[in-house]
């Protein structure tokens, strides 16, 4: 309550209405041109650029009093930046928040897509640091814009093929480029390529906000999203050769936890809600303990 009253002069969801209108118009165009990065007049936010300001602006522009918000970073609801952003929206919008993927109407994420398939009506908002998939091949916006306009993506294929020639396989493990509806090459944000297949034909609306780089882009539900590859080197996701040590889940993305300085390791779900839900349902992995403890 105290926090709310101290911020009484800020508008619902922090942004002023003029800014929301500008962002909303950009979102509509982004949805109408899937995979194309719409420039928008990104504002300074009360958290630093690079810490999710793009995602926060998108969430603030779409959020309403009936929404239930979930915020994850690295797949976890309890990572510091996820906690901080969730608290921000509780404070400036007074909305309900949750850690349960299925209960959320809006999920803001950094670096992961939840393991459980998203549903019709849910919105996944990605925080994006560098929205331009061609940026590391060509640093100039003036050039990359032309390349998108002309659908000139040869450079990207050359880069991936050089990987294959040098290493025998494509050496990109995250922010792995995708092609949307056969037209725009798009950066999926720095999610591990493990998550790329989840973007394809998802039932949820996916919105991407890059605050510092001032770009918004989108994938409507049921949109074709194909990871770039070659006939002789098809796209493959990471595989883990063991299940989650806590809940026993297979085919999920795992975090490697270093247990001691003698090489002791365990692998657990990166999606904390997925893991907790499974354990609540009675699933157990080999070390099936309880998650507790706090950083001080």
């Amino acid at each position: 309550m105290n926090a709310m009253s101290r911020n009484a002069t800020y508008n619902f969801a922090y942004l002023d209405e003029q800014t929301k209108r500008m962002i909303r118009r950009a979102i509509l165009k982004a949805i109408a041109i899937p995979g194309y990065q719409v420039p928008f007049a990104s504002r300074e936010m009360p958290m630093p650029y690079g810490w999710g300001t793009g995602g926060v602006q998108v969430t603030a522009a779409i959020l309403g009093p009936d929404d239930v918000l979930k915020v994850i970073d690295q797949g976890a609801d309890d990572t510091t930046n996820a906690v901080s952003i969730r608290k921000f929206f509780e404070r400036v919008a007074g909305i309900e928040t949750t850690t349960h993927t299925a209960e959320a109407t809006i999920i803001q994420t950094r670096h992961r897509i939840p393991e459980a398939p998203l549903a019709e009506g849910q919105v996944l908002v990605y925080q994006v640091p560098i929205p331009e998939p061609l940026r590391f091949l060509e640093p100039r916006e003036t050039e990359t814009r032309k390349m998108h306009a002309l659908e000139e993506y040869g450079l990207m294929h050359v880069k991936l093929y050089e990987d294959i020639a040098k290493n025998g396989h494509i050496a990109t493990t995250y922010a792995y480029p995708v092609k949307v509806e056969g037209r725009y090459v798009m950066d999926p944000s720095p999610t591990p390529k493990f998550d790329n297949p989840k973007m394809h034909m998802s039932a949820a609306l996916q919105l991407f906000g890059a605050g510092r780089e001032k770009r918004i882009y989108a994938l409507p539900p049921h949109t074709e999203v194909v990871s770039l590859d070659f006939e002789d080197h098809p796209f493959e996701v990471q595989r883990f050769d063991r299940p989650c040590a806590l809940c026993g889940a297979e085919q999920v993305y795992l975090d490697e936890i270093v247990l001691d300085d003698r090489g002791g390791r365990m692998f657990v779900c990166s999606d904390t809600d997925h893991c907790e839900t499974r354990r609540a349902e009675g699933h157990r992995g080999e070390l099936g303990g309880e998650l507790s403890g706090e950083a001080k």
């Binding site: 118009r25 309403g64 509806e181 409507p220």
Partner: protein, 205 residues
């Protein structure tokens, strides 16, 4: 005086919540082309501006968005005054310069390609047309596919120009350039982004 409505009346009563609710309806509709989305318009603009179009205008327009009005809406000074007061937007009589076109009579408006199409580099700089139609059934069926549509979807909007299907097909072929449409009547709206392709015609080609 009491019964006489002025340009000052009939706007959002709760501007923040109302704009958010209308926007979410439009966003959902844009993300799911050809799906009818219901929203009770929280505004009462002067006739002939349909309340639902008044609500969309109040949500999305401001001083940064030049608007074009079709003759039906343009000839009403009350509509113009109401829009200026509630949005701050300015008018243009050149369809190609407008970022939004508000069309009171969906059965007759300039060809889609006379509105801003965006450029190959900036396809987002294209017009959004908000069009009043008669109904979402009873017209020529349009069978559509594309992003946002699971498999296929059909609508039969009544009150669009006779050659709408041809025009729409040309619009989708200009992708990534092209206009996006919001069709509206009563408490319902449907969006047609430039990605919503006509199926029958695809087959013919």
């Amino acid at each position: 005086m009491r019964n006489e409505s002025t340009a000052l009346d009939g706007g959002f009563s709760a501007p923040v919540q109302d704009a958010q609710a209308v926007f979410r309806a439009v966003m959902d509709a844009m993300a799911r082309p050809a799906t009818i989305v219901e929203i009770r318009p929280p505004v009462t603009p002067p006739a002939p501006l349909p309340p639902i179009i008044g609500a969309i205008a109040s949500t999305l327009l401001d001083a940064d968005t030049p608007i074009w009005l079709d003759p039906t809406l343009g000839q009403s000074p009350e509509v113009g005054e109401w829009l200026v007061f509630h949005t701050g937007a300015s008018f243009t009589d050149q369809p190609g310069e407008a970022s939004f076109a508000l069309i009171g009579d969906g059965s007759a408006f300039p060809d889609l390609d006379t509105f801003a199409q965006g450029t190959q580099e900036y396809p987002d700089r294209s017009a959004t047309l908000v069009i009043a139609i008669e109904a979402f059934d009873g017209g020529t069926p349009l069978c559509l596919r594309g992003p946002g549509i699971l498999d296929r979807a059909t609508i039969a909007p009544r009150g669009l120009p006779k050659d709408f299907a041809e025009q729409w097909e040309e619009n989708t072929q200009r992708f990534p350039r092209g206009v996006d449409l919001v069709l509206a009547t009563g408490d319902s709206l449907v969006c047609l982004p430039r990605t919503a392709r006509l199926i029958a015609r695809e087959m013919e080609v």
